[in-house]
Structures are given as structure tokens and as C-alpha cells.
Symmetry: C2
Subunit: 329 residues, 2 copies
């Protein structure tokens, strides 16, 4: 019997289509996709490889001195413009805001043939430090309301360049989707006095059916109401609304679990395409008891179609507990 | 300068990325994609071609007597099961509902090498009559809360079979996404005494910059806040909350505009992949002043990636007014 499951935090329903259910292993890509041997360490035509630094406008490099391990550059085709005031126009029907904001690339390694799941923890930590530093700087711009960190890994996930990188966009608005999630979290807090994300984490740790990795500071689990195969949340054990307020001393632990999860996807599913996003509270909101930042990892192994578009309900043809067991082993 | 635009009805923001903007004609597919000559009228291996009717469980045929012009069959791999009660489980964290519902295919023509955009209006009317009849029957099942009609046209839109068909899913819940849109519409009505969709339609008809087709009963326009290139709404001029309450006498006019819009996409963009959905009020809601049914047509010409996933904000690399002009000519 198929089952509808609700995500407690977002209140979104998914259909776990057990009648069509497929074993997790059918989602493994061909082993030929694995990086080893397929790509050179250095590609002279790659804008993100060392030696081509002048091709993009550099924002920062990490470490600041010596050869860089991570770099932040401006996106060559930015979705938003950095200069200019936030101007609103509203004639009662048409609402417009000038598209000011930031759109930057975080190059996560100088090497052309590696990525976060294959790097060591100190190298991943440097990349995540670049996320944090840059996020804090963008947040200091009074025009900014929301910062979105994301990664498109592989063509199906929207990547156009192979060299490992993430992106950060600073927006002059709080997106409706973000506002909606915060309102749901606040409602849960009003009803129960608890953070809905802490509640979910506690439940996952009690049952352990969907937990795939953990360390002292973070837990990774396949979502109970996964909208697609291998839909994963990486959640800090410490309650904190904003990623930007993370204790920098916790970054190596964050790096450890990110590397662990991406390494599992790489080895168990042969480097699938995926998106990764950090969900965090709007930059002008104070720390609070109800929102809890996390990272979502969403492999692009099934296609969304008209039904998802028309209903917001996703059909997931895998059993989340099976996906977790497959990644755990 | 890029611009953020808000959809008045959904309150979703999109980024109109004018700095990356591409001319509408770059989205035209190769003319080789056009059906003419590429496919036979009849494919003996196609489950939806005449002669293979026994391969699927038939629900209804239209007309009921003689050779059929449209047929409704059960989906062979249904996401939901028809039999059984709606049972809810809720332990405070985990919420589950049994996956009961309908998942059916509307085969829109007996011919293997045509589709709604190439059929004549009487033939499209018969297909839409099948939508309506079947929708009303499903709505009569007291377990059902929402009916979603949708089409996946082409592989990138999620279609696995080429023969022209749509799908209908009956759900035992009102999806959060639907509820959210209704709440926004009700809020607009409370504030202004008007239907937000009627207001948008009136605005489009006053300016005409984005209108691409119209007849006595319907108007088609590219959305002011299009989330992707050529994002189109087909809206009835008459205010009505549910598609299921359409006057059957209006179906030929609906068929006329659907055919018109899909024909334009076919000839101007060389048969792009697209999704099509009907947005309608939940089946148990009465007719009301604030919600207004419509059909959305969303060509799959750009890819959603991590940013859209993480923010709910879409980046549209085209100017909606240019897309409308391109389809109008």
C-alpha cells in the first residue's frame, strides 16, 4: 500500500509509492562516472584552475597568503547586480524590486579532479570557512535580507563547470518559501515550546532507522518524508537559527560530516548528480528558539514532472529506510 | 539591471535576470523535432494505440459508442491505490496517511502522431470532456480532497510514452501548496473585495504586453512574474473556483485556446517539452469569490538547480514581454 508522509517542519506531503518502489541499488550510476583517472588534476582551459585566476574577479582567497586552497570569485553571469539601491515599485498589481544582490562562486579546491567528498577534512574545512567568511561579509550589507548557499554537482543538477565549486546568492528579499518555513517552525514552537527540527532530530536518533552518519556535533539522516531518493538532511546537534552564527571551532566537525555524506553518495551511487543547499534564518532575524539551520543534499535521480508542479506533492519511488540502510553499509 | 518581480497571486518572487537575458528565439528546438513525418499514425507496440486496448484497464471511453476519440485508463504503475480507507497515523512527530487515491491516464487521441496542439477543436473538446467527466466522478468519492490534472510532454518534462496523453491524480489530502495559494487568494479578497486572479487578468487585458491569445471565454498570457521562459497561464474570463464547475458549453472555447497556445509553442519553438497543469480549488470547497481556476503551461527549457531548491525563487533568463511577443507573431 502506498503511503503519504508529512514532513513535520515544512508540512509538505510526499507519496512513498511502494507499489512502484525500486531498490536503492538501481539508482547507482555506472562506475565509469567515478572521477579517478577520468579527469586530470589540472585543466588549462578551466577558469577555476590555478593559473587562470585573472579570468574572474576575485573576492577573497583562503588562506589569504600563500597558495590558495579555496577562492571566492564573482559569477561572470550574475543573476543580480552588486551596485545600486533597493527600489520598490508597487502599483497595486505589479510589484518589482531592483535586482541588487550578490552572486559569487566558491571554488572549493585548486585541484580539477577532486571534490568535497574526496578531499580530506582540513581541506573541506577551508572551503566551508570560505562559505562562512563570505556569508558574514554579505550579511553586513544592509540591503541584504537572505543568503542562500548552494551547490549544483553534475549536469542534471544544473552545473555547467566540472571543477568543484558552490555558489552564494545574497537577496534583497526574504523569499516566500523561507518565510513560510519559519512561520511553520514558529507555530510548532508556540504549540509545543520546542524547536521542530530538534524534535525531528531527537526522533531520528531514538529510532536510528534513517541515520546514516554522525559525529559529536552533527547528524546526517535520510528524511522520513523524503521527496526524492536519498534526500538527506545534515543537522547540527546544537540548536542555532543561523549558519552564520556557527562557532568556527565546529567547522571541522561540519566538514567531517559533509565529506562523509558526499563520500557515501560517491562510492555507493557512483558519483550521482546532486544539489546541496544550506537553509538558514534570514540575516536580520535574531537567534531564536524555533528555527534551526541545516544542510539538505538532494540527489537528482528522479525527475519532477507535472504532478509535482501542480500540487507541490512529490512522488518518491523509494523507501527512505531502505535508502538509509544502503548508504550506511 | 536585473529585476525581481512578484506574482500577485502566489506572492512568489522571481529574478528576471536581464544581465544574462537571452532572446526568446534561442530556445527554439531543432526543426527535426517536429512530428510531421517523424512518427507513424499507428505504432503496434504503443499501449495507447487502437488495437492494444486490452493492455490497460479501461475506465471510460469518449464517445461511449463507436470508435473512441479519447480514453481513460488506469495507470499501470499507480502512485496511489484505489481500494481502502483513509487511515491517519500521528504520533506527534510522524504523520502518515494511507496512500489511497486515483491515478489515471487520459489518452487524448487514437492517433500516434498528433497531440492537442495539432488536433482540431472538436477533437480537443472530446479530450477535455474526458478530463471533466472523469474529474467529476473522482470528486464524488468522499475520500478525495484534491484532483490534479497534468500533462508531461516530452522526456525532459517527465514523459515516458510518446502517444499524446495527460494524467489525473485524486488525492486524500489538500496539498500544502494548494492550501497556501488559497489562503493568499482569500487574504487578497479580504483586503480588496476582489479575486486576485480577476485582478491580474484585467491588468493583462488593459496592457496587452503579455497576452498571446484570447477568445470569448478565455485569455492566455505569459506571466508577468514568469518563473521560467514562456511560462503561460490560460485563464477563464468567468470567475469560477473549480474547473469541475465549468459550463460544459464552454469546453469548445477552452479547447480552442489550449490548441492555440500549444500550437504556438509547437511552431515557434519546434515542439518543446512542457508540463501543463490545471489549478483548481479542493473538491470539497464551495464555489467562492476568491479562487479562480486556470491552466498553467510550463515549457522545460531551463533547468532548476540548487538556488531554486534552496530559496523557492526562480531565475528566469528571459524577459516575459519578449517571450509573449515572440509567441504572438
Amino acid at each position: 500500500m502506498p503511503e503519504l508522509r508529512q514532513n513535520l517542519a515544512t508540512r509538505e506531503w510526499v507519496i512513498i509509492a511502494s507499489e512502484r518502489a525500486r531498490r536503492p541499488n538501481v539508482y547507482a550510476e555506472a562506475p565509469e562516472r567515478l572521477l579517478s583517472g577520468n579527469r586530470p588534476t589540472f585543466d588549462p582551459g578551466c577558469p577555476f584552475c590555478p593559473g587562470n585566476e585573472e579570468l574572474d574577479l576575485e573576492v577573497s582567497r583562503h588562506p589569504a597568503e600563500g597558495s590558495w586552497q579555496a577562492r571566492v570569485v564573482r559569477n561572470k553571469y550574475p543573476a543580480l547586480a552588486e551596485e545600486g539601491p533597493v527600489l520598490r515599485r508597487n502599483n497595486g498589481v505589479v510589484r518589482t524590486i531592483t535586482g541588487v544582490g550578490y552572486h559569487e562562486i566558491i571554488v572549493e579546491t585548486p585541484l580539477h579532479n577532486t571534490f568535497l567528498g574526496l578531499m580530506d577534512v582540513p581541506a573541506v574545512t577551508i572551503a566551508l570557512q570560505a562559505f562562512l567568511d563570505r556569508g558574514r561579509q554579505i550579511a553586513a550589507d544592509p540591503r541584504m535580507e537572505q543568503i542562500v548557499f548552494f551547490k549544483n554537482h553534475g549536469e542534471r543538477a544544473g552545473a555547467s563547470l566540472a571543477h568543484a565549486h558552490s555558489q552564494v546568492i545574497g537577496l534583497p528579499i526574504v523569499p516566500g518559501d523561507v518565510r513560510h518555513r519559519i512561520e511553520e517552525a514558529r507555530r510548532f514552537f508556540d504549540d509545543t515550546g520546542q524547536c521542530v527540527f530538534c524534535t525531528m532530530l531527537e526522533y531520528e536518533l531514538a529510532g536510528r532507522q534513517r541515520v546514516i552518519a554522525e559525529n559529536e556535533k552533527f547528524v546526517a539522516f535520510v528524511l522520513y518524508a523524503s521527496s526524492s531518493p536519498f534526500h538527506i538532511w545534515i543537522m547540527p546537534r546544537d540548536h542555532r537559527a543561523s549558519f552564520l552564527n556557527i562557532d568556527p571551532a565546529d567547522l571541522p566537525m561540519f566538514a567531517d560530516i559533509v565529506r562523509n555524506v558526499l563520500h557515501r553518495l560517491y562510492t555507493r551511487l557512483n558519483d550521482p548528480d546532486y544539489n546541496l543547499v544550506i537553509r538558514s534564518t534570514p540575516v536580520k532575524e535574531p537567534e531564536n528558539g524555533y528555527f534551526h539551520w541545516y544542510m539538505a543534499v538532494v540527489p537528482r535521480l528522479s525527475r519532477t514532472a507535472g504532478f509535482e508542479l501542480g500540487s507541490g506533492v512529490w512522488i518518491n519511488p523509494t523507501i527512505p529506510e531502505d535508502c538509509a540502510a544502503f548508504l550506511r553499509d
